[in-house]
């Protein structure tokens, strides 16, 4: 595929991991690969926090009357879960780890366009995250991750301002990362890597970066205005101060709906890479899939009002938002069909990343289709703010975004660490997660249609059976989360050497050593073929 001279692999050669060892060499690094590792460790920390909060909630919900904690503590748990998972795990997850690590490798560059800005992004993220963490330790907040006004500005107690400041700072981390990615993809592609030869992961990163840059400032301003009203009593959202409580929802969802696409687009990119590799096929309808990413990013900005059908919003605006919400679903449908078609007459190898990718397709399909229920105005009257919505967006965010992230981590683990994990443990964990996920969240669709509202600490007794089932599923899912921590860590010391390209994948990142040297490539690569050129694959193992 590319003209890269063969470099002999020595166990003792220098890589980005072992070139220097000091703490400062990590904390002050400008190497995109090391920054990616910093992100990977820090988002894992916040994921565990958010996961712990979810575990506590699921245990509490086994009983309809609430038997372990007060209402207040429960409310703080779901707020912690939402804030940690959305702002400090899902939004940075794939872009900041895999995006950071892979974008320069995939385009044949030495680093991102602005390495120092990249490090600054991580510091903003970690300072923001620690502020939110401090707020949590100091007593937490109970606003929900959506911070609806006037509750958040006037009525809620707790560390709202500190948390909001943390999220505000974290927003700048997103903006700078998006900027860095856009400039890098525009300006630093290797000779011959035209736009339509780019791997689809890069297209999805491009689309995600656009949302980062255009959306994040709006939510940053919205949160700042909440702080102004809360701290200085300036009337913006509270009607008693002359404000408009619905205004906040417009500003919040203008970002936070596209934020869903920040979570799912990168996963779609990862899945495209995995499906192509383990089917040994070019992605069916490559251009369609690439343009679908951009279409989602653009239309995604025009659908926010579907969160507000029942706020007293005009029926006509509701209709416009409803139509646009259906239209944004079409590009996603195209992608699902194209991935499936890619497998047709392929050479399919069900390795761990492929299991995650197939799991993604199934769960994302169901998650996406149940989103149509909520875009349908007459249906949303009944389903809004119930467990149906909880189930829907967990199918997208966990079944979609998180499965994609784990698939990507498994796929590129040999590249990042130079080691192979145990394949059977990997497959077992992927299967466990898929099973546990469905047992956890499918009953919540039923609960939602029965009318169980979200964010309820106590609930009528007739809902208990389905809640217990959901909690049982969560305990299976927890196993699926925890297993990779062990076998991946184990592989660092005991795993077999991966070699450059254990899956015989195309793509520039597989042409260099595993793990790569600090400069990524010994010789700057030149691209002469389209992406996913598996038909031209070399016959024998390199």
């Amino acid at each position: 595929m590319t003209t890269v001279p063969y470099i002999p692999s020595y166990e003792t050669r220098e890589t980005y991991l072992n070139s220097r060892y000091s703490v400062a060499s990590w904390l002050l690094t400008k190497d995109h690969k090391r920054i990616a590792i910093l992100y990977m460790l820090s988002i894992s920390f916040f994921f565990l926090l958010g996961g712990a909060a979810a575990t506590i909630m699921r245990i509490e919900l086994m009983n309809p009357h609430g038997y372990l904690m007060s209402d207040d503590v429960y409310n703080k748990m779901f707020t912690t879960h939402g804030v940690m998972m959305v702002f400090f795990f899902l939004i940075p997850s794939i872009p900041a780890t895999l995006g950071n690590f892979l974008i320069p490798l995939m385009i044949g560059a030495k680093d991102l366009a602005f390495p120092k800005v990249n490090l600054l992004s991580w510091y903003l993220y970690i300072i923001g995250g620690l502020m939110a963490f401090t707020a949590l330790v100091a007593g937490g907040i109970d606003t929900g991750w959506t911070f609806y006004t006037p509750y958040s500005t006037t009525y809620a107690n707790g560390w709202v301002t500190l948390t909001l400041t943390g999220i505000f700072l974290n927003g700048f981390s997103s903006i700078l990362t998006g900027l860095n990615f856009l400039v890098t993809i525009h300006k630093m592609r290797a000779p011959g890597l035209t736009w339509f030869r780019m791997p689809l992961f890069l297209w999805s990163m491009y689309a995600t970066s656009v949302i980062f840059i255009l959306g994040t400032p709006v939510v940053a301003i919205a949160l700042l205005l909440v702080i102004f009203e809360r701290v200085f009593g300036i009337g913006i959202f509270n009607p008693q101060l002359g404000g408009d409580p619905i205004l906040f929802q417009h500003m919040f969802w203008f970002y936070s709906h596209p934020a869903v696409y920040i979570m799912i687009l990168p996963s779609m990119g990862v899945v495209s890479e995995i499906i192509a590799c383990f089917s040994r096929k070019k992605i069916f309808g490559y251009e369609m899939v690439a343009f679908s990413s951009l279409a989602i990013a653009v239309i995604g900005f025009l659908v926010w009002g579907h969160h507000m059908f029942l706020t007293g919003q005009s029926v006509y605006s509701g209709m416009v938002f409803s139509v646009l919400s259906f239209l944004v679903g079409i590009p996603s449908a195209i992608k699902v069909f194209n991935w499936t078609a890619t497998m047709y007459k392929g050479s399919i190898d069900l390795k761990t990343p492929m299991l995650y990718a197939l799991g993604f397709i199934g769960l994302f399909t169901l998650g996406g289709l149940t989103g149509l229920f909520l875009s349908t105005m007459g249906m949303d009257i009944h389903l809004h703010d119930t467990y149906f919505i909880i189930a829907h967006f967990h199918y997208i965010m966990v079944g979609g975004a998180l499965m994609g992230y784990l698939g990507g981590i498994h796929f590129w683990w040999p590249k990042i660490t130079g080691k192979l994990y145990n394949e059977w443990w990997g497959r077992f964990a992927a299967f466990t997660l898929f099973l546990g996920f469905n047992v956890t969240f499918f009953p919540q669709f039923v609960l939602g249609y029965l009318g169980m509202p979200r964010r309820y600490h106590t609930y009528p007794e007739e809902f208990q059976l389905l809640n217990v089932l959901s909690t049982a599923g969560a305990s299976i899912m927890a196993v699926g989360y925890i297993l990779p921590l062990f076998y991946l860590t184990w592989s660092l010391k005991y795993g077999k050497s991966a070699g450059r390209n254990p899956y015989r994948a195309t793509g520039l990142e597989w042409q260099t050593e595993s793990p790569p040297i600090t400069e990524n490539f010994e010789v700057a690569p030149i691209v002469t073929h389209e992406a996913y050129d598996y038909a031209e694959m070399e016959p024998a193992h390199v």
Binding site: F284, V336, L366
Partner: protein
């Protein structure tokens, strides 16, 4: 209520309509999930890698196939849109002669007042087969008044009125939930709605403590706060005002608004926001924002709505007639105002 179910009760006229739409959505969902699931599993088995050097031939993209799977989902989703919009529009336009019940949400309870003056807390008694319209507001944060068995809900927003309506069709007791997170005891802001036969409802009404009806209480407030002094002479009168068209100045712009409940409320709590044409620069009414409770404001609104209701409410001519306010009569009267 109370027993394990997999499908909720259908207790309103709207419930079967919503459920039918739900079944259509479910059918589409099951079909495509199954289709994709079966294809993925089948391909993974049929085309599994047989040896390490396998190199499948490239499949050429078929434009026809791609267009097919753009057009079919498009058509299916537009049906969803239209169907859902029809139900929503119907839900947004309550029947004109619906029984009006006032609901006020506050952390963490529902206060209900019937047109015949009876009050309830966290309970709502309604007669079967009658259109019921709830006019709702909140004293503090945003709540949401949800009755799953009726398939209805609506946010209850401070500073404005929202409405929801339903026609109960099945006698029984059903849940009321607050569906919008509203603070510590959100999950305890629940209640029950009791659907009764007409006879039982009348018996229930007569067994309740009676007080002033909202209209009567509003009339008292109207006199108590001396509204009548200005609004009988140099301020706009209010006969036939409700649901008429009013020309108002807002932020220096003239526009025409419908004098619905929200307009009436806004004119009481914040009169300077929209000033009736012909009254700009005149002595303005003081804002009653901090003097009246939400309940009192609702009573005043009920009273204003009742003014001029001896004529036929449905009279299309009346609905079309613009409300023409009486301009300030004489300079002497303006002089009176400035005292």
């Amino acid at each position: 209520m109370g027993k394990f179910q997999l499908f909720p009760d259908q207790a309103s006229a709207m419930a079967p309509q919503v459920d039918l739409l739900f079944f259509y959505l479910c059918a589409v969902t099951f079909f495509f999930t199954l289709l994709i699931g079966v294809l993925v599993v089948a391909f993974a088995i049929i085309y599994r890698r047989k040896h390490e050097d396998e190199r499948p031939a490239e499949t050429h993209t078929s434009k026809l196939l791609e267009i097919t799977w753009i057009v079919i989902p498009f058509i299916l989703t537009m049906v969803m849109f239209a169907w859902g919009a029809v139900i929503f529009v119907n839900y947004s336009t309550p029947p004109k002669n619906a029984m009006e019940i006032n609901v006020i949400g506050k952390q963490w309870m529902w206060k209900v007042q019937h047109p015949d003056s009876q009050r309830e807390i966290n309970e709502l008694h309604v007669p079967i087969n009658e259109d019921i319209r709830l006019t709702m507001t909140s004293e503090d944060v945003i709540h949401d008044f949800s009755i799953p068995a009726f398939r209805v809900k609506m946010d209850v927003v401070p500073g404005r009125y929202t409405t929801e309506w339903f026609r109960p069709t099945k006698v029984g007791q059903y849940h009321i939930f607050c569906d919008q997170y509203c603070g510590t005891e959100h999950s305890r802001m629940v209640g029950k709605v009791t659907v009764m036969t007409q006879g039982d409802y009348q018996a229930w009404l007569s067994g309740q403590v009676r007080g002033l009806t909202p209209v009567a209480a509003g009339r008292e407030l109207f006199q108590q706060y001396n509204c009548v002094k200005c609004h009988s002479q140099y301020a706009p009168t209010m006969a036939n005002l409700y649901m008429s068209k009013v020309d108002v100045w807002e932020d220096g712009k003239l526009k025409t608004v419908i004098a619905d409940e929200d307009y009436l409320r806004d004119s009481i709590v914040n009169p300077a926001h929209q000033i009736v044409d012909g009254y700009v620069g005149k002595q303005n009414m003081p804002a009653f924002k901090d003097q009246l409770s939400e309940e009192q404001i609702m009573q005043l609104v009920a009273y204003i709505k009742s003014l001029g209701q001896n004529e036929d409410k449905e009279d299309p001519v009346r609905m079309r007639n613009s409300y023409v306010p009486k301009p300030p009569a004489t300079p002497e009267m303006n002089g009176l105002l400035t005292k």
